[in-house]
Subunit: 364 residues, 2 copies
């Protein structure tokens, strides 16, 4: 038995009560893995963890997955309620709910939410993010260590990629090599490798194509994977062959914005201030319209998770929170620049989990 | 532009109207890929397809994914509504909905369903499975061809595995070899490889362990992957070294049940009759309590999708429907037997997409 799960399940129950809710319902997802160590594939047969204040947590589980659930590191803490094909798992779940609002974990499939609403009418159904998202946002020592290792491995993958030649190769081939470096440096999987050259760099979520990289272009590399269960995610923009004055100018604005946002990270500051710090630099340089996304996202068991560095997120920073800082400027049909690092909030400021140089690199 | 998507989007709108609903809302999922050819990763920023009778379909999409959406094969049919971080995508979506029930695709994340319900109160929210699940259940000629290729590749993977020695190896190592054979025979990925030996075979969704395979045991192999976008899924139970009388007897009951269920497949028959045919054989042999799951599941873009061969599913079989037939008997702490093939409903009966022998094989 891992004491972490006992602590986390207890805190989830406390937070559920503090929010005035009767229960927290969690489906197969990083939320379930975080609370119980049990991480089955989400399927049409529902697996539903029900956490209630001052009650033993229950796990509603399909009969044919009961043996797996019984091996979960937290199984001894859970009441396992197995259902057979033909039973109604939503009625079984509904019967566990006292009157009051129900918190629903973000990634539960809609089909399960609708069926619970139908089987247990009369409840209000709220997002569980204020409870479990807030818990997951503050990483413990082991989680921070895993995120540090993931960040260092991503940095090393970039170093290896930039040792070789880029000009003349296709985006897809560079993406494949980058994925190999991520794995070679300890990632279990490479989750994404955006390689966006020339005008493609103006599309923030570009998928690599057959396009061949040419001298004189900008190249955005945005990549990450999963190492010991935790994500890496970093972005660098390089100039191929030579850097135009315009690329140098835009890159310097993004670099300054990224540094300003990083400097704004400290316990007690609102995460919105981090977003604002980046936004002010880009706005005052006249590119505000071309920076059309938030400054960053939390990272951990998921590549995007609370908190979000945006004007909408009310989170006040606390030690142990980890998120990306990734301002960008995107010039349609021309080029784009983005610089991204993962940072952790420390007791007295900020720690960067990526340390590759943020200066504009010129590569062949 | 692929004419398939125009046809499918039109049929989805017709089915939405026929069900008395005002709209169908689909998130990133096989449903979205089926209707539009667009298959982004599901994330916290919602991408939502809104299909309405007699209106042009709309795709609500995050601004930073707009360039990707614009390249989808169906993009010319869609009104792309890009939203920026800071906008409210749920209000944007809600504004597209006329009064009336809204169909919600099964895999949309709960967080998006709750936010839509909150932004657009006054609608009833129903599962979209009766519309889109029913469409996807009837495969067209190209889909059937892909499923046939996937089935043949899974059969070939099994043949290759059984050429070598099994006894003395660990479950995880056999699973890894099976995955390699799946890929070698054309699968893009091996999605699952259940290798369950001895008492582990009594757990239908067992995950391979370090356990070493021994002579005298039963071994359940349940495996599949994705080939040209479509899933394979087959199961065989083999005897290691020699088969005990008890294993032979139980295997023969399962084989007879599987054959009876397959014989029950024809257009116009209820899929529940397929389940019943298998269940009757196992019940009358006295093992009814040890067959605690449905007889099968639809298969296509997802490994589990409608229709389901169970007593609950009201589907009447039509040509082009594809599903598994996989009865099993599970004897706790002792062994288990399952035999699974994918079948397609033809205009006059049934076609088996897996043809490996269903006799009990004795392997070393």
């Amino acid at each position: 038995m891992d004491a972490r799960f006992e602590r986390r399940l207890a805190e989830a129950a406390e937070r559920t009560a503090a929010l005035g809710a009767a229960a927290l319902v969690v489906g197969p997802s990083p939320d379930l893995a975080y609370l119980t160590g049990y991480d089955p594939t989400p399927l049409e047969r529902p697996t539903l963890l029900v956490v209630r204040p001052e009650r033993r947590p229950a796990l509603v589980v399909p009969m044919l997955e009961r043996p797996l659930a019984a091996e979960a590191p937290s199984a001894g803490l859970l009441e396992l309620l197995a259902w057979r094909d033909g039973d109604d798992p939503y009625e079984l779940t509904g019967a566990l709910l006292r009157a009051g609002p129900v918190l629903v974990s973000d990634r539960i499939w809609g089909v399960h939410v609708l069926a619970m609403q139908s089987a247990a009418p009369g409840h209000a159904w709220w997002s569980a993010a204020p409870a479990i998202g807030a818990m997951r946002a503050r990483k413990d020592v082991e989680e921070l260590a895993a995120l540090r290792r993931a960040g260092a491995a991503a940095d090393a993958a970039l170093t290896d990629l930039l040792r070789g030649r880029l000009i003349g190769r296709r985006e897809v081939d560079v993406a494949e090599e980058l994925a190999e470096h991520l794995v070679a440096h300890g990632h279990a999987i490479a989750a994404f490798t955006i390689v966006a050259s020339g005008p493609n760099a103006a599309s923030p979520h570009h998928e690599p194509t057959e396009r061949v990289l040419s001298a004189g272009e900008a190249l955005v590399l945005d990549f990450g994977g999963v190492l010991d269960g935790y994500y890496s995610d970093t972005t660098r923009t390089v100039a191929l062959g030579e850097a135009s004055d315009r690329l140098r100018q835009v890159h310097e604005i993004v670099r300054t914005a990224q540094a300003a946002a990083t400097d704004a990270v400290r316990p007690g500051a609102p995460i919105a201030a981090v977003d604002l710090a980046a936004r002010r630099v880009i706005d005052s340089a006249g590119y505000g319209e071309r920076f059309f996304h938030r400054t960053g996202h939390g990272i951990g068991l998921e590549v995007h998770e609370p908190p979000y560095a945006s004007q909408d997120d009310p989170t006040i920073l606390e030690p142990g929170m980890t998120f990306s800082i990734e301002p960008g400027i995107y010039l349609d049909a021309e080029f784009g620049v983005r610089i991204e690092d993962i940072v952790a909030v420390t007791p007295d400021g900020v720690e960067a989990l990526n340390v590759s140089t943020r200066e504009l690199l010129v590569c062949d």
